[in-house]
């Protein structure tokens, strides 16, 4: 097999139980190189367990998983050279400053000139002004940005993002989305877990739905849509979502470094909110509801 033929991630028959609770009951999926792959599922579906097995933090009871062709069970060290993990909760050191966090990870990743790497990343995630402050003083969005920046050190070819936007406010969420798109643009393979349907819809090239320990469906958004009967054309007055209103009122500005933002209102409230940048956004809302109700019926 040439290098291009080996998928970035290959999971076959993965099983895992905690005591008697079976969390994974035979999970299969492939992620091609450079893809953004969303593992979608409700709480307790087993998303984090899959990610932790792939990141070599957990051992599977049965089945195999490979990252860039390396088996997670037998070639853990090679897997860890190829990946980085952004866990469900921003795993940053609160007592250190933002810069110290990045320098620490850069040293542990054995990159050259950790200080310069840290400074470049601080710039990239707009934390330069807050670099010398302890992370304990950061807002949730700033922590998450730092968290993701820590995962970018050493440019690993495969990145796991476990529920990267859970608990974030809408602005911080859009910042994370932008970061994921940037990664995808650079050819990084991203495995993203989320419980938000719109997140998978906006970011992912392929989506797999994990339900009760099994992948019940995998495909592109279009393929998943095709599973349902063709959409009937209905005329519905389009009301702005609360998110549109919120973002229009508070403004959709580049990330601020102050945890307590006190921004002036924009003079002209925007009509379309940040959704204007994403043409398929509105079309998705109705679909999400139907997909969710469809899932309930099964």
């Amino acid at each position: 097999m040439t290098e291009q033929e080996v998928p970035a991630i290959r999971v076959r028959g993965l099983e895992k139980a905690y005591k008697r609770l079976k969390v994974l009951r035979g999970v299969d999926f492939d992620v091609a190189r450079g893809q953004v792959f969303a593992l979608l599922g409700s709480n307790g579906a087993g998303k984090t367990t899959v990610v932790n097995i792939l990141a070599t933090l957990l051992k599977a009871d049965a089945g195999t998983a490979t990252v860039l062709g390396y088996d997670v069970a037998t070639h853990g060290a090679d897997v860890r050279e190829s990946i980085s993990l952004t866990g469900q909760f921003a795993a940053v050191d609160e007592i250190l400053t933002g810069r110290e966090n990045l320098v620490l990870i850069a040293r542990l990743r054995h990159v050259k000139d950790p200080g310069a790497v840290a400074d470049a990343l601080l710039e990239r995630v707009s934390l330069t002004d807050a670099a010398a402050r302890r992370v304990a003083t950061y807002s949730g969005g700033m922590r998450r940005r730092l968290d993701i920046a820590m995962s970018l050190i050493g440019s690993p070819p495969v990145i796991f993002l476990d529920e990267p936007t859970t608990g974030l406010d809408p602005q911080a969420r859009l910042e994370v989305w932008a970061a994921v798109r940037e990664l995808a643009g650079r050819g990084t393979t991203v495995l993203l877990t989320t419980q938000y349907l719109d997140e998978a819809e906006h970011l992912a090239d392929r989506i797999a739905i994990l339900h009760r320990g099994r992948i019940i469906v995998t495909g592109t958004l279009a393929e998943l849509r095709a599973l349902l009967p063709p959409a009937e054309v209905e005329y519905v007055e389009r009301q702005p979502t609360l998110e549109d209103v919120f973002l229009a009122l508070v403004g959709d500005e580049p990330p601020q470094d102050e945890p307590q933002q006190d921004e002036p209102r924009q003079d002209e409230p925007r009509q379309d909110g940040p959704g204007g940048a994403e043409p398929d956004r509105d079309a998705g809302d109705g679909h999400d509801v139907r997909a969710a109700s469809e899932e309930r019926q099964r």
């Binding site: 051992k59 909760f89 795993a91 007592i95």
Partner: protein, 253 residues
């Protein structure tokens, strides 16, 4: 792999030492209780304790040093638990590092922090009139034994740090360790204790460690006590290390 282990441990050690430097209360808290015990025993009970000739503070200090280490190592369990709970342990373990360097960094941090606490306690003892005629070799022997004891108790602390369900639970393991010196020759000679208590006191590890340090401070020959003390420390160290590494591997299974 060896150089990687050393450089990873150094990087993580720098991190934990920053934690200690930025919350100096951990060193103060570690020293305050032993110093309070020392004040209490010397100035309140000391007059009534028949510990033999000489200043009571000279008799007392070795036991106080053991208590200092016992309370200091609980911070290792506490810090390790916080790393587990915050998810940064998982982040470190997903990096291409020598995995056990995460534990070693915490253990070495404990050694440094305890050394500082011990120095503070000895300074206070000097202010209270403690004097020793020990030579350089005896002081080195005392430092070496205290270092070994710190290593032993710190590896013991790794176990609750990895397996505790709460931060309080992680630090609570040290209470019996702090209590153990009270049923030993640390505060009063064992000869006045009733039979079974005396038998326990004379055969538990603290007595041999305390008696060895006391003999070294006084410039007396240490006799067989030092071998008993070393056997206890090394034996418990080996068991604690093996159990801690097993618990560590279970965390990644």
């Amino acid at each position: 792999m060896r150089t990687r282990f050393l450089s990873d441990t150094a990087a993580l050690l720098g991190r934990s030492l920053r934690h200690v430097l930025r919350s100096p209360d951990t060193i103060i808290t570690t020293s305050v209780m032993p110093i309070a015990f020392m004040l209490l025993f010397v100035y309140v009970f000391g007059g009534a304790v028949a510990a033999g000739p000489g200043r009571y503070v000279d008799y007392l200090l070795p036991g106080i040093l053991v208590i200092t280490i016992a309370s200091g190592v609980s911070y290792t369990a506490f810090r390790l638990f916080l790393d587990m709970a915050s998810g940064i342990f998982g982040r470190f373990q997903s990096l291409p590092i020598a995995r056990s360097s995460v534990l070693w960094a915490h253990v070495l941090t404990s050694v440094v922090a305890n050394a500082v606490s011990l120095a503070v306690v000895v300074l206070v003892a000097l202010l209270m009139g403690f004097r020793s005629g020990a030579g350089v070799a005896a002081w080195l022997g005392i430092a070496g034994l205290l270092l070994l004891l710190t290593f032993t108790l710190t590896w013991l602390a790794v176990l609750p740090g990895l397996s505790a369900k709460s931060a309080d639970g992680a630090s609570a393991f040290s209470y019996p360790l702090i209590f153990l010196p009270f049923v030993s020759s640390a505060f009063v000679p064992t000869r006045t204790m009733p039979g079974p208590v005396r038998a326990f006191a004379e055969h538990q590890p603290v007595t041999s460690i305390v008696d060895t340090i006391r003999a070294l401070f006084a410039g007396r020959p240490v006799g067989d006590d030092i071998w008993t003390a070393l056997a206890w420390c090394v034996g418990v160290l080996v068991i604690a290390y093996v159990l801690a590494m097993a618990a560590f591997r279970r965390k990644l299974a």
